[in-house]
Symmetry: C2
Subunit: 172 residues, 2 copies
C-alpha cells in the first residue's frame, strides 16, 4: 500500500487538499496529514476542517512514496518552517512525486528546487516562480519528472489523475 | 460523453458535492448543477461556494445519464420542491444511477421510491429511512440496482468509485 504525505495549515485551499486526498484513498492508499501541530483541526480558506495526524518536525520522508502540497494561503506560513523545506528537498532528491497546486509553488521556491524545472501555479505567483528560475507554463497540468503542478481548483480532475498515475508508475 | 445532474442548495455538504463532481469530471464527463435558481452561488455547510448553472424547474431528465444528490441540510429544503421529486422519480423509473449520501436520503423518501429498496444514510435519518420502507444497512457503500448510497464524507472514496463504475456499466 502506498503512503502519501500531505501538508496542511490554516487557510489551506479546501478542495486542493480534500480532492487529491480522497482520490488517493479511492486507490486504497493511506494519506497522512502533517501540520505544525498534530491532533489539531485546521480551517480551510472556505472553512472546511482538516485534522492533522502528524507533526511536521517529526516527518521521516523515507516512510512515504509521494508528497501533496495544497495551495490557499497556508503555503505562506509553511514556507517559513525549515522542516517543511527539508521535507520537500528530501522528496525531490529521492525523485518521489511531488504534486503542488495554486499557491503551493511558494514552498517549492523556498525549498530552492525550481531552478531549471518546468511548472505552473496560480497566476498570482507566476512572477515568483519565474524569479526562482522556473519555466512557467499557463496550462492545467504540467509534469516535469517528479514534479506535478496545476493552477487552480478547476484543474483538480487532471491534477488528481496525474498524481495517481505517477505513484502507480513507481512500480513499473 | 456522459452527462450527470447534481442538485444543490444552501448548506449542502461541501465535499459530498465536490468530490463526486470532480471525480466524474476526471472521467471526461459533464456535471450540471441544478438549483432552485441558476446563476446564483450557493454556500456549503462549511462555506465552500458552488455556482448553479441549471434551474431545477427546467430540468429534462432525458438529457442526463445519472443523478447525484449530496447531503448536508440542503435536502431538507429541496425535498419540498415538486420538481425535485419529479426529477428523482424519472431517474429511478429509467433505472439510471442515483448516488445519494448522508442526509440526501430525505429527498428519496419524499420521492416515495425507497419502499422495498436497500440503502444507507447518515445514522441521523436512519429512522426516517426505515419508516419509508427501506432496508437500512450500516455500511460505507450500499448498491441496490440503480441506487448507490453512502453514510458520510468519510465514505466518499468508495462512493465516488461506485458511481463512476455504475455509469460506465450503462454501456456494457
Amino acid at each position: 500500500m502506498k503512503k502519501i504525505l500531505s501538508l496542511v495549515d490554516d487557510i489551506y485551499e479546501d478542495l486542493e487538499l480534500w480532492y487529491p486526498k480522497l482520490r488517493l484513498e479511492e486507490e486504497g492508499w493511506q494519506v497522512t496529514v502533517a501540520a505544525p501541530e498534530s491532533n489539531r483541526v485546521f480551517q480551510g480558506k472556505h472553512g472546511y476542517p482538516c485534522k492533522a495526524n502528524q507533526d511536521i518536525a517529526d516527518v521521516e520522508t523515507a516512510d512515504y512514496d509521494a508528497l501533496l502540497v495544497p495551495g490557499g494561503f497556508a503555503p505562506d506560513k509553511l514556507r517559513r518552517d525549515p522542516n517543511v523545506l527539508r521535507i520537500v528537498q528530501e522528496f525531490d532528491a529521492a525523485k518521489k512525486p511531488i504534486a503542488f497546486i495554486c499557491h503551493a509553488g511558494w514552498i517549492l521556491i523556498s525549498a530552492g528546487i525550481l531552478k531549471g524545472r518546468t511548472a505552473t501555479s496560480t497566476v498570482g505567483i507566476k512572477d515568483d516562480m519565474i524569479n526562482a528560475g522556473c519555466e512557467w507554463l499557463n496550462e492545467p497540468l504540467v509534469i516535469d519528472g517528479n514534479l506535478i503542478s496545476s493552477r487552480t481548483p478547476i484543474d483538480l480532475p487532471v491534477f488528481g489523475k496525474a498524481f495517481v498515475d505517477a505513484i502507480k508508475a513507481q512500480d513499473a
